[in-house]
Symmetry: C2
Subunit: 142 residues, 2 copies
DNA sequence: TTTGTTAGTTAGACCTAACTAACTATATTT
DNA sequence: AAATATAGTTAGTTAGGTCTAACTAACAAA
């Protein structure tokens, strides 16, 4: 049984990876490197971080981050604001363009949802979501 | 219903991505760049390709491939052999070290299998695999 | 056998992205 | 008020990875 599970998961993983890949092509992020994409995702997650927070989260030195951020500003994905509380610190925000990277995952999930809706009956869809959630719940519990 | 599916898939995608990430840390591939990793994966998939095949598959020019291959040889991941049939062409093989990159996905799938086995009953596991396969089947049909 | 083609390499340019060291400007502490 | 600490930048280095152009070696065909 375990082998059957592993095999199905292997194929399903690949399916999801492919979906994410296709989604990337659909988005307006073609001219971004994978590094730049991961910066944008992290900025999104951290919610307007400053340089110190961002570099800590990425595990990189601040000068490295400065350079990449500069490029992303040039590309119109983000902008900086100076903090009122402490004028040394600047916060990094996503522009509307930058926020579009969030679409990437969304496209992929849409694609997967299409696939699931077209291959499973409503009852099966219910079952499937239920089972997924059970697995997810036990993951979060760990 | 569609929203429920999308949400579950979003979380499940993230789970799989995390599992792949953890697996990478467990493998002996820490000193490889993501480019180098993807070269190794492609070499593995193509089964001892020559430079022309590899560069075509990667969508890169041959001189670019030459440089990266050289680095991977230095790192002991691959080796070259000259073809007997046509002494101009050289085939690229994974060494035992290079083959270890295949473990990467295997680790991730093991992790997922653990999770599934621990969170679902045997009946549910059967159901889950069945549903996954149904979705996968319809994907391949496209 | 000469001519052209194919496989891969070498050289050189360019870009991204990481680093360290040294800097400026602002806050904090004493 | 002076010394110290913190936030971020600037300058310079290094390494990886891509490209084009020009090359060598081996094969194919005229």
């Amino acid at each position: 049984m375990r082998d059957k599970i592993k095999l199905s998961i292997a194929h399903f993983s690949r399916l999801i990876t492919n979906a994410e890949g296709k989604a990337k092509d659909l988005c307006d992020v073609k001219d971004l490197t994978s590094t730049q994409l991961s910066y944008l995702e992290t900025i999104n997650e951290l919610d307007n971080p400053n340089f110190t927070e961002l570099s800590t989260e990425l595990g990189l030195k601040k000068p490295s981050v400065t350079v990449v951020i500069e490029r992303l500003i040039t590309k119109g994905c983000i902008y900086k604001t100076q903090s009122d509380a402490d004028r040394r610190t600047t916060h990094i925000h996503l522009t509307e363009v930058g926020k579009q990277i969030n679409q990437r995952h969304d496209f992929a999930h849409d694609y997967m949802a299409d696939l699931i809706e077209s291959s499973l009956s409503s009852t099966e869809q219910e079952q499937f979501v239920l089972l997924l959630n059970k697995v997810l719940k036990s993951y979060k519990g760990k």
